[in-house]
Symmetry: C3
Subunit: 456 residues, 3 copies
């Protein structure tokens, strides 16, 4: 059976342990994004359920998505679950010409999310206040919702608006908005390595929002990546349990938090995953406190991969809920170029071309490296601390003096220099300016030569 270290090293070397190349892994993930893209997701409704169905299938038996249905009107801390919205179709026709101006069967973004049902004929002047465009991006349909203010509307490109006829217009939002349920999904991969006696296995929380319609990077990339990660982690021994929450943004996260008070104390690390398939380097957003274990782990991996680490801010995705003062969970956020910083954000240009197999794969490898740190970090102790041990007699040191010691030798020397039982391998990696995986390998070599113990 492959270990997580073996899985990580294989991915770093360019393939899955079963030989699947990184390229085909990327194609597989991109194909799943494409399947999910047309589904009419929103805060609630059948698009959410269909998305969970497809994601569940892609797990291929390695794990199951438990679906939760919570009645509307349920109280969740400061929030109340709002009505369920079932959109069948919405369209806008110019009755003077018979032209269909917009139709959600063409693009799910054409209707304002949570539009109230309507079927009417309006003059051009009465229609205009219900139309939304992006004048600065005249070919893009904007993404608009109105969850808590009852209204209806259509989104279209500025060019469509510029060519709009004189009407009158038939508007139809064929939808239900009323009592029902909010839906979210949850996956639990239990820990398989027994914790030390008297301790309880911790959990790692992975969270991706589920409420965006046809937006590929935000957040189909997160949903597909977390699903693929579950497939990989299902096949290796695990010290932590891995809990995936796929819920509508904000209120869905608060809802999950309100129903899992018993789980929260077990969460050791967490990550919100979003915007991981588009351009730009990786960006890690720290937890609110900024000094949690996940900050060190993800910060290390992201920096080593040329990415960027930023401080917390109370704007963004569901990290805002997990980090709220009353929960104070150690949950960071991993993305590439964050929301609001790329022009395709929340428009129809966040499409299947915006997300690439290569970026998805790169993010997946980064996630596996993060899990490698979370699972395999330790605070070993040097068993030969009186001077540098004679590595040569143990067959792990070059016998002819040269100008440079190899990285592998340096990784061993760094580990021996700081393995005092108190310093973590991740801290050694940071001092050494080497990847965690290199230090983890060195520690295993030293442990095999009886020069180190306490790797657990």
């Amino acid at each position: 059976m492959t270990t997580l270290a073996g899985l990580t090293d294989a991915l770093r070397a360019g393939a899955l342990p079963d030989g699947t190349s990184l390229a085909s892994l990327g194609e597989r993930m991109h194909a799943r994004v494409a399947e999910l893209y047309p589904l009419p997701r929103s805060l609630t409704g059948p698009g959410v359920r269909a998305t969970l169905d497809l994601l569940g299938e892609s797990l291929a038996g390695s794990a199951t998505i438990e679906r939760h249905e919570v009645p509307t009107g349920t109280r969740a801390h400061d929030w109340t679950i709002t009505d369920e919205w079932t959109l069948r179709r919405a369209w806008l026709t110019d009755t003077s010409t018979g032209d269909v101006v917009v139709d959600t069967d063409v693009h799910t973004l054409h209707v304002v999310g949570y539009s109230t049902p309507v079927r009417a004929t309006l003059s051009r002047d009465d229609l205009l206040p219900h139309l939304h465009t992006l004048p600065e991006a005249p070919d893009a349909i904007p993404y608009r919702t109105s969850y808590y203010h009852r209204t209806w509307g259509f989104c279209l490109t500025q060019r469509q608006l510029d060519g709009l006829g004189e009407g009158p217009f038939e508007v139809v939002v064929d939808a239900d908005l009323g009592p029902g349920h909010m839906t979210y999904g949850e996956v639990l991969l239990p820990a398989t390595v027994p914790p030390p006696e008297g301790e309880e296995a911790g959990e790692v929380l992975l969270s991706a929002h589920l409420c965006h319609p046809s937006l590929a990077n935000d957040n189909l990339s997160g949903l597909v990546l977390v699903t693929e990660l579950v497939r990989l982690l299902a096949g290796v021994p695990r010290r932590h349990a891995y809990r995936v929450v796929m819920a509508p943004g904000t209120v869905g996260a608060v809802l999950w938090l309100s129903r899992n008070a018993d789980v929260l104390p077990r969460i050791r690390h967490g990550l919100v995953l979003t915007g991981l398939g588009g351009p730009g380097h990786l960006v890690y957003k720290r937890t609110r406190r900024g000094d949690r274990g996940v900050d060190a782990a993800v910060g290390h991996v992201v920096r080593r991969r040329g990415g960027e680490v930023r401080d917390y801010s109370p704007w963004g995705y569901d990290e805002r809920q997990y980090n709220a003062l009353g929960f104070d969970l150690p949950v960071g956020r991993l993305s590439r170029t964050p929301h609001n910083e790329y022009p395709e954000y929340h428009t129809s240009h966040d499409d299947l071309a915006h997300v690439t197999p290569a970026e998805l794969t790169d993010a997946l490898v980064a996630l596996v490296e993060v899990v490698d740190v979370l699972e395999n970090d330790g605070r070993p102790r040097n068993l030969a601390p009186y001077g540098e041990p004679q590595l040569g007699t143990r067959g792990i040191y070059p016998t002819t003096g040269g100008r440079a010691a190899s990285d592998a030798v340096m990784a061993m020397l760094w580990t021996l220099a700081y393995a005092d039982g108190d310093t973590s391998l991740l801290e050694v990696a940071a001092r050494a300016d080497l990847d965690f995986a290199d230090i983890r390998t060195a520690a295993a070599t030293l442990s095999g030569a009886d020069l180190l113990d306490g790797l657990g």
Copy 2:
């Protein structure tokens, strides 16, 4: 009645609460500098008393300046109050031509401060050692004193010296130098908001030196600004008492310290004010320890206004005395371009043109912002800490999703994210990269919506 927050917000918006524009406020302060400019100030003497008289009048009844007269010969820690110097007039005439070369009625800088009385006729060669110029600034009269070494002298421009005739010269220093008093002024604005039970109201010390003759930036700017600040603070409720010391430099500050041992333990924050009317951005010089409350407060305001923060050094103004090890008071210094770094420093070019209404006003607003922090900072507690509270239902959140949350919303979110009862609003402002006043406003809004308590 206006509050300090209201006063601050009004000034930030461009006017006093009574509608006085910043421009006319600046003209008023500049006019006061002009009134004080010709008075013959020195370490002691009638120029000091006349200065306190004029400053007292400008307070217009909002507060009074208590004048202290301490006999010469009095011991003040390591120092002894030196003789009082009363200058009536000093001049220098070329008897061969009858030309008056210099005359203190033309400029107070023409005589070396504390010149001994003299009335004599000297040859050119005997006169020259008593003349001081600035060859590198040939149009400027230098500022020179000789407090502890008994001598006399004249200061003149290099061009005057270059044109000096053959003499002989009549020199007259019509002055008294002997027993008398050292004079300093003190203003106390008491606290008006009762402190929490069992606590004593703290004091804020504001100090400006009083001993410089016709030098507009150093230090008429400080004297006029602190007086204007007192006028403004007199009209608002105050948690702290505000104590202003206007004393001769060095020995005057030590004298005040020696006579106020009972006051020192109440001083929570302090600022020396000098050089605030000339060009250049604001420069805050930290306290000796560098980590006091005043360092955080003034550092924040100065940085937000594009200014600069520097570490302590034992060179400069009376911050040296307040920070001396035996007192260890939390007193920083606020200026613009510090002494020695602008060419007009300690010359006749530090004149009424060197100081502008706009710079005076900018400094005054900065001072009010500092007091706003000192008075209104707090460590509130989020009352809805389980997730982000639904601001929309409380009427303080935009209902249609857009690309950016306004600064006001962000200020509320930052405050909620860190209001744990231990983090100060100033710390929140620093994390948020927003002005303290914005966070203070957000906290008030949240407090009004019962989402926050503990603002005190």
Copy 3:
């Protein structure tokens, strides 16, 4: 008798207290490097003993080098003392022409260190695997050893190899390799100033490796500098003992550590000295922990002299052994351009031209400045802490006001400002951005005026 402060100030001013110029001091050290250069040093053997003899003579009676001979086969922590190698001569002749290709009488680097004795005639093809060159530096002979893998070999320039004839070749390594001794030298200069009652005098460890053949910078510079330093320190009162270890690299240091368990607890500070005579600014490599007293002291001196401070790494010289977890000694390393970063490193180009009198002298002055800090730092207390004391009345302040206070006055003001009995003079120097020696002088002046005590 000169004090260390006097010695330091004299060197900073350009000469020894006896008037010897820095230039002739540099020439003297360079001449010693030249004497030692041709001796056939290795891990063991007669070249090591001859080196200790010459260094001992250069001490000129000011101290003695104690020579230690440890039998081969002795265990030293993880290491075992390997066989002794006695090289008489090694050469390689092309029998077809009679040409001597290489000969250790011409350059000691021509033989691989620890080559097994051999006397044979080989074909060109059989010889080639035993020849080592540096293709990227075709005029340089490389330095190669094979301490633990039994083989033999010759080192030559790439140009020599390119011109090699057809052979056959006579190879002779006239050497013994077998049981014997490892040799190291030790100097102890005892403390001469009695420690405070109840305390024990600490030691300063100075270490230079002894095992390199004709390499002038690495490490004849270290051996010659430490010897000169001992000569200077022998003539001044000392609070610490100074212990110099001249031992073969790695195994020699471990051997010394294994035989001096009683000494280790007394070591307060330590420095490995190497590569100090070649080009480039000074480079200080911190101790493993990075926050020891020696880090502050050497860091200060090196930075003030335009040098550079780097973090610890487990690669380099014997600092690796002293800092090993089981010993954890506060030993940094001082060099110029470190090993591996200059092209002459470990080649015949690290010769007498690569090392200059000026660089040796500069390093010596730096070392004396470091010892000045280690000996003379203290935590004095300001005896006139209530305001700035009136320096003028004590004759140590200029009586006429001017634009700038001299550095000497500033050094006094900085010292008074922070002399709280807890802050060290070195910390004051860092805050003041002045040399330690300037602050040490100011503290002595203040102490002489009864304004400071506790200098010890």
